[in-house]
Subunit: 169 residues, 2 copies
């Protein structure tokens, strides 16, 4: 059915997926902030310079949303993704300023079948996003659910799968 | 200068701030997803019904962004907020579907002065957002930096402040 899409079995621990590049324009920063986070440093260059962020800076939630889009374009939209139950960690380490360009990668940390949802597995990733100077701006870890290519009974390579306790998802 | 704005001193452990209500329209879900998370279940009612989410469902990042806006309107925009270094926890516990109305509250867990930034303090919150049926849809914890009303040397109520180790922020 979806033979060409990435399935749970394709997310082996250690596999990396490239993210971006994604240039960040001042207009996008202001548009997002106007709707979701209208603090002065996200709306106005002078207010941003006067803040500890040092310039017109994207809302952390905007950075996270841009990072989601980079993941979507890299692998999520080409996979049997069934969504994510949340985020374990999200660090906004440096300001994302107007004119920056973001890139990065997602690395698979672990993968296991879900007992509660036969035919699906959960994959834990670590994500790192940096700016054009190679400075980490955003680090995140979260778990994502993917459909399996094969039915559970068909899995014949349990060596790839860590059978740690089931996530709450 | 900013006598009427909420400062670090106003975020005592246990204080609660109401969030919302925020109605969630189908058009908003599709607009956000088109830009940041274009997975089928966030773009199309039929695809949403066919997914484990059960209907046209907001991207988790959209839910988080709406939650940011509710915090902004409740207290962030009326405070000496200096931003947040990240998110410790973000659980998307139930789908947010078109037609839902979100509300909730932020509760102060702890507050402490920042040694690295005199005149600022960091406040850790737990946030809970529920839908119109009282079901928790989003639970989050994070720390936010606020300016102090008084200079550090003026603080005369250390009993309000837990002197736990400094955050990395």
């Amino acid at each position: 059915m979806s033979a060409e899409k990435l399935s749970f079995e394709d997310f082996q621990p250690g596999r990396r997926f490239a993210l971006g590049p994604k240039p960040v324009a001042a207009g996008e920063i202001i548009e997002f902030a106007s709707e979701f986070d209208p603090q002065p440093m996200h709306l106005d260059e002078a207010a941003g310079r006067a803040s500890i962020l040092g310039g017109l800076a994207a809302s952390g939630w905007h950075t996270s949303s841009m990072f989601m889009r980079m993941m979507a374009d890299s692998y999520v939209l080409h996979s049997l993704c069934e969504g994510a139950p949340g985020v374990d960690l999200m660090e906004w380490r440096k300001p994302v300023l107007a004119g920056d360009t973001l890139s990065g990668h997602s690395t698979v940390l672990e993968a296991r079948p879900m007992r509660s949802r036969p035919g699906m597995g959960i994959v834990k990733f670590r994500h790192e996003v940096e700016n054009q100077r190679g400075e980490l701006v955003c680090v995140s870890e979260n778990s994502v659910m993917f459909g399996m290519r094969s039915r559970p009974a068909d899995i014949d390579k349990p060596g790839d799968i860590s059978m740690s306790p089931e996530a709450s998802a």
